[in-house]
Amino acid sequence: MELTGAEIVLRCLQEEGVEHVFGYPGGAVLFIYDEFFKQDKVKHILTRHEQGAVHAADGYSRSTKKVGVALVTSGPGATNAVTGIATAYMDSIPMVIISGQVPTPAIGLDAFQEVDTVGITRPCVKHNFLVKDVKDIASTLKKAFYLASSGRPGPVLVDIPKDITQHKTEFVYPESVSLRSYNPVTKGHPGQIRRALQLMLEARRPMVYTGGGVILSDAAGELTEFVEMMNFPCTNTLMGLGGFPATDGHFLGMLGMHGTFEANMAMQECDVLIAIGARFDDRVIGNPEHFYNPSRKIIHIDIDPSSISKRVRVDIPIVGNVRDVLQDMLKMLSSSREHCNPAELESWWKQIEEWKSRDCLKYDRGSAIIKPQMVVEKLYDVTEGDAFVTSDVGQHQMWAAQFYKFDKPRRWINSGGLGTMGFGLPAAMGVQMANPGAKVACVTGEGSIQMCIQELSTCKQYHLPVKIIALNNRYLGMVRQWQEFFHGNRYSESYMDALPDFVKLAEAYGHVGMRIEKPEDVEGALREAFALKERLVFMDFITDQTENVFPMVPGGKGLNEMILV
């Protein structure tokens, strides 16, 4: 039997086991929406903005490893989606975005709601396709899901002109795909792995630095085993938090621009650095010239050869899937008799303990004004460290990263690479949708939350009881901090004036609102909010306006040149 293109789209989604699609309708996708109406296997979630749809699909994916799916119309639908797509691209999140396009004969004629979606998104997708024949829909979607989720993951966009969704053809979903031009590696080269192990066993000051790749490849278990077995110190990037248990004694906290003193010092001073699924980002190592240390050897495990020796020359590259490589390493280690010199390791740990004693994350715990750090600590206590925490971008994001101790992967969900304000709330919706019944908190700022505030309405419609923790400092705090440090206290346009009454706003959307102004009320309010299991609670914490994020490595500086409290 022949099916229409639109029917085929739905059948493909079903074949892929997609349960939720986040989207927003419009002219070019009307036939596809018609098919949604006629079935109930794939649930559609109507967001209030296409950016929200893509972030929600993104959060959905980050919390589950499933491919997130979003559907938008042509023209403004597609352009609204771009921020979400770029956000996913920078953090290597597997997603498929289906966009409608004007009918094939109208392409190129400046038709109503026409944009060159494939052209606009090309630099921020792993790959994209324009479907020109109804016969290609099934094979293209199959490829899209495969590309999105294999190798280094990323968003893949499929642009489908409206007429193609009306045309008919026989539906056959390909069982498998193979592309002669795309063959991602999984296993690491055994010779390289052996060389790496040799180097590690000779290390006197080893350091394990891991990132998003550990989360993406579900290798937290292997990483933990490896670190424990070796008794090495371990740090995570912002994207890697939860890849190694934060409450484990081997953990030195996050590293980088706002990393801990001990993590940054150990990173700088180690003699063997083992980088695992991390990409030596500028927010992580600062200035590569300052980072350079001739007595340090670097091992780098990454699935993407272009991540290796991009910013920093490495000595032993291992191209492969983190999980496979770590499993091979563990096997070799357990059959080897060699160990690191325990005396050397002990003195290295002693040095690290000394750095730790600097207590770089200290803040005024007796303050009469709510300190943002304290809110996150209480959030950790109240949720017993077991929440999914999404975040927006700014100071609050850094405090969430520093003070919520993530013991499990896929619990910390934030936009690291693009740094997209507005990510937190829609991402939390996606997380809650994927994990009904789980505690989901969105740590945000009064600036960021307003970038996708409309999604409060989506939360109402789909009963998503997200807990919004707004650290309201009445400033674009991260901007204000830079202006204080580097622009002579000239707070140009970083003050948030005319803020809405968030309590009333939440109520207007049908949710619960709370304003918390005193430190002694913080914990009780959080408990009350999390007890409201069925409700979204918007918690507006009025925090210290002048608080800054420490430590801080100023731009262009090296990791050991931190500004400390």
């Binding site: 494939v118 052209g119 090309r122 630099p123 792993k126 790959h127 324009l130 590309l147 592309l179 002669r180 031009s181 795309y182 993407d304 050869p305 272009s306 290796i308 020796s309 991009k310 020359r313």
Partner: protein, 163 residues
């Protein structure tokens, strides 16, 4: 340093713009880029002449390999290779210039492929440097028009780029 990068990719709409987009997005130099289908019409072969430090060239090759439609990439400079570019140059060829223009074409082993009473069109093939040398050798004011294909390259002997 100058490098000649050769690659094979799927002969699909949009593939070229992915390559050129990559170069502009990442700020890599392109001296020339030429592309055409191969004997297998499903494949295109592209030659890119670029320049940069060894680190940059390494990144360019890795980034090209990362493009989904790219099948194989080689840096011709890694071994013996031959480079050729074709140029058509229209020069003044009135009474005064005719003889000298012909002589120059001969010296550079060019062929005159079109003649009018005021001009010659000369076809020249060679390395990029040779074509540059021709343009430098001939009186600037004689040159009416030039068009160049950009370099193509191929490995010597058993060095081959194929799937």
């Amino acid at each position: 340093m100058r490098h000649i990068i050769s690659l094979l990719m799927e002969n699909e709409a949009g593939a070229l713009s992915r390559v050129s987009g990559l170069f502009s997005a990442r700020g890599y130099n392109i001296e020339s880029l030429s592309v055409a289908p191969t004997e297998d019409p499903s494949l295109s072969r592209m030659t890119i002449v670029t320049s940069g430090s060894e680190d940059v060239i390494e990144q360019i090759i890795k980034q090209l390999n990362k493009l989904i439609e790219v099948i194989k990439v080689i840096d011709l400079n890694d071994g013996e290779h031959i480079e050729r570019e074709m140029m058509l140059v229209k020069v003044k060829a009135g009474e005064a210039e005719r003889e000298e223009a012909k002589r120059m074409a001969d010296i550079f082993r060019g062929r005159i492929i079109d003649v009018s009473d005021q001009s010659y069109t000369i076809e020249l093939t060679g390395t990029v440097a040779k074509l540059d040398a021709f343009l430098a050798a001939i009186d600037r004011s004689w040159i009416l028009e030039t068009v160049r294909t950009g370099a193509s390259g191929i490995g010597r002997g058993n060095r081959m780029l194929r799937i």
